[in-house]
């Protein structure tokens, strides 16, 4: 498979997963907003900070008001991570490799982008906004459903899956991290109903609440971190995402899991996966949740860079 094509497929999947997670992320605050006691005001700044978009945000906006943050994260083409930018990029990538996609994939990407572009011209009330973000999430899930039922399980499919799960691992870790930035009015409130409320919002936005409930009696930070980061079986946990990404890289190179690795990308990813796999939730908190997440994100990015070097950036001699 052409390196350029593989690269595009990988990125189409990342962009669509990213768009979905931005929509989920905004959802955290919608959940919170309605449950907040009257004396506490809405916080929208944590969203841009957790996504590491705050520097760019400040270039264009004075205050992190709801309107500003929503516009910036959703419809602002100046923000390369906004939902519309992600879908635009997914579509442009898809256009250049249209001949390698299934017809349904292309048509779905095309439609999704046109829908968001159209929506960007309208003012929406809260109800419409919530519906809109739901639609983005569903659109992304439909896309992955289409991929799973129309694409041959070859190299391309695996590059796509690796992209999608590496992106998910990164974004889920940011979901967990958002709690670090959402301020409690008072440190004494750790473990209070308000604290638990905030944690629940994180779970709900990751579509993880019901599955979590089946596994744990208590909503505690430790349980949530264990579920969203270290769980092997939950499809939105960091570890699960890494396992899937790893298995796709091994399929691509044809290296069985009994062998250590056959290229640098595999090496980095397998090492990161085993680090997470052999970490306990206590160790996470000993290190400090935020620091742990920070280190993870850095290493996850390095995996992405190594995939680029190994498969996409083949140089002329």
């Amino acid at each position: 498979m052409l390196s350029r094509v593989a690269n595009s497929i990988y990125w189409i999947n990342r962009y669509i997963e990213r768009a979905e997670n931005y929509a989920r992320f905004i959802d955290v605050n919608f959940h919170l907003m309605f449950d907040l006691p009257p004396e506490i005001s809405e916080q929208w700044a944590p969203l841009v900070i957790t996504m590491a978009d705050d520097k760019l945000f400040k270039e264009y906006f004075d205050v992190p008001s709801r309107d500003n943050v929503l516009r910036f994260m959703t419809f602002d083409m100046r923000n390369p991570n906004s939902i519309i930018s992600n879908l635009y990029n997914a579509r442009e990538n898809a256009r250049t490799i249209r001949e390698t996609l299934s017809k349904e994939m292309w048509e779905h990407i095309n439609k999704s982008y046109l829908r968001v572009k159209e929506a960007s011209h309208h003012q929406m009330d809260l109800l419409a906004l919530q519906e809109f973000y739901k639609e983005i999430k569903m659109g992304s899930q439909l896309f992955f459903g289409i991929v799973d039922s129309t694409v041959t399980r070859g190299e391309g499919w695996h590059f796509g899956r690796a992209g999608r799960f590496l992106e998910r691992a990164d974004k889920i870790s940011r979901f967990v991290d958002v709690k670090y930035f959402i301020l409690l009015p008072d440190t004494n409130l750790v473990g209070s109903p308000l604290d638990i409320l905030q944690w629940s919002s994180v779970l709900k936005s990751a579509s993880a609440y019901n599955m979590f409930r089946q596994q744990y009696k208590e909503i505690t930070p430790a349980n949530i971190v264990e579920f969203l980061v270290l769980d092997k079986l939950f499809p939105r946990s960091v570890l699960h995402s890494l396992l899937y990404a790893e298995s796709s890289l091994r399929e691509i190179s044809g290296t069985p899991s009994s062998m250590r690795y056959s290229n640098e990308a595999e090496k980095k990813l397998s090492r990161l996966r085993s680090e997470i796999e052999f970490t306990s939730v206590d160790e996470v908190f000993d290190k400090g949740l935020h620091e742990f997440i920070d280190t993870f994100q850095m290493k996850n990015n390095e995996v992405g860079e190594e995939i680029f070097n190994t498969f996409f950036a083949i140089k002329p001699i």
Binding site: M1, L2, S3, R4, V5, A6, E92, R95, T96, I97, R98, E99, T100, W106, E107, N110, E155, F159, I252, F311, F312, I314, P316, I317
Partner: protein, 476 residues
């Protein structure tokens, strides 16, 4: 009201469907009857359905504006242009004859140059052509084929005779529209289609792939389609053909010359490419040999080609044979190599480089279309009847200064086909571009792209000028 042809007039033009006295031509009779029997509103609905389908399938042109891509469909008219089997058989023979001769011509001018030595075509004329590439001298392309894919534009004038308007031997486009138009017309008129029997075109991608495989010395060659990229207006076609043939669509950055071969960058390293159906111009192919400014090409590819280690379709250098002035010599080229008269005539053409003709052109310039050899896309042209005295003076002067650079032709009214205009039919002018593949044999695809000038009275069929297309039905 249902669509009927009662108020349809040929207005003195040659009409593909009706004779001068308004009688329907026999091969259109069944079609007419069926159309007129459709319930009210049905035909319009089918026309709209066809347009919707084109949009949904994304059969579009790229129009780029402010960094955002928008796509336009090529307007499609549901009424097909039909060609009788006997007429087609003659066209097919004529096109094969023409392509055979043009290929011999190309091979000759880049090698022995007999035709130049014998003075049939003036040497200076050939060597001054933009399409004549000196680096191609002495090249013997694989299997002796230069023009693998040709799109020859045909028109019918007032008396209904098919004539060649021009040959396109570089990267003729439009074949994807031919294929998609057929899909749509099958949906639009399934009953008529079934009954009339139409020669199929859907085999084109397979035939194209077979031809491309044939021109390689490798028994199981790797074939790719080379595109300038998604900003090219024909990008859809490049992508479509690659997809239909099941081969890679590559851009220049995907290819590299390495160890004396052309290779593509894959996730598993470099892979040798044997055949390139290139959809970029000659001058951009290799910055080492041609335009050094070109960022679209692959440095060193020409050297690999010369060694016979990669096949290029079409071969570089074919442009010399579709030059507007060389066109005027094609009947003589056919005579010279094949000792036959052309089966499909050229449009009557005056060669300003010849004494008798130049005199006539200078005296009758107000009635003629004058074309400059090295221009295309409507540039460097004078349309006599629509020109001012000053423009005519300027062209007379230019012709006298460089007579070899000009030809002139009478203005021709293209034939017409009924087309849907709001709620009735009107005649619209058409041309026809059949596609010819030259591999082990010469294959003429039965049909082609019928382009139609959708604006009333217009003779311009180019899609950029509001032209559309129709399906072309070659009957059995």
């Amino acid at each position: 009201m249902a669509f009927i042809f009662d108020n349809y007039h040929t207005e003195g033009f040659f009409d593909e469907m009706f004779e001068v006295d308004g009688k329907v031509r026999p091969h259109y009779e069944y079609f007419k009857q069926q159309i007129e029997n459709l319930p009210k509103g049905e035909l319009l609905q089918r026309q709209h359905a066809a347009e919707r389908t084109l949009m949904q399938m994304g059969i579009t042109f790229n129009v780029y504006h402010n960094g955002e891509g928008t796509e336009r469909i090529m307007p499609f008219d549901i009424v097909p242009r039909m060609i009788r089997a006997d007429e087609w058989a003659r066209l097919e023979r004529g096109l094969k004859q023409r392509i055979t001769a043009l290929n011999l011509f190309l091979d000759d001018v880049y090698n022995d140059q007999k035709i130049l030595k014998d003075g049939i075509v003036p040497r200076e004329l050939v060597e001054s052509c933009k399409g004549y590439l000196k680096p191609c001298e002495g090249i013997n392309p694989p299997k002796g084929v230069w023009c693998h894919i040709t799109g020859t534009d045909l028109i019918r004038g007032d008396d209904g005779t098919f004539m060649v308007l021009e040959d396109n031997l570089r990267c003729p486009s439009g074949v994807s529209y031919m294929l998609e138009n057929r899909e749509i017309s099958k949906h639009s008129f399934p009953e008529i289609f079934e009954r009339l029997r139409v020669q199929p075109v859907s085999n084109y991608p397979t035939q194209l792939l077979q031809m491309l495989q044939y021109i390689s010395n490798n028994p199981s060659p790797t074939v790719v389609v080379l595109t300038p990229g998604r900003y090219n207006s024909a990008y859809f076609e490049h992508s479509y053909l690659a997809q239909q043939m099941g081969v890679e669509l590559v851009e220049n950055n995907d290819l590299v010359v390495h160890d004396g071969y052309v290779k593509m960058r894959t996730t598993k390293g470099f892979q040798i490419v044997d055949v390139i159906y290139r959809r970029i111009d000659d001058s951009f192919l290799d910055p080492n040999v041609f335009n050094p400014e070109s960022l679209l090409g692959i440095p060193g590819i020409f050297e690999v080609y010369k060694k016979g280690r990669v096949a290029l379709a079409n071969a570089p250098g074919t442009g010399v044979a579709d030059d507007k002035v060389i066109y005027a010599y094609v009947p003589r080229i056919i005579k010279y190599y094949l000792n036959e008269d052309p089966i499909i005539p050229n449009v009557q053409t005056y060669i300003c480089g010849e004494d008798n003709d130049i005199q006539y052109v200078l005296e009758n310039i107000d009635k003629l279309v004058v074309k400059e050899a090295n221009e295309a896309g409507g540039y460097g042209m004078l349309i006599g009847p629509k020109s001012t005295k000053a423009q005519q003076r300027l062209f007379r002067m230019k012709i006298k200064q460089n007579p070899r650079n000009y030809i002139a032709q009478p203005t021709i009214s293209l034939s017409r086909v009924p087309s849907m205009v709001e709620n009735h039919f009107e005649g619209r002018h058409v041309d026809l571009r059949p596609y010819i593949l030259y591999g082990e044999n010469i294959e003429v695809i039965p049909g082609g792209l019928t382009r139609v000038a959708l604006r009333k009275g217009s003779l311009v069929v180019n899609s950029s000028q509001g032209g559309g297309s129709k399906d072309t039905w070659v009957l059995y």
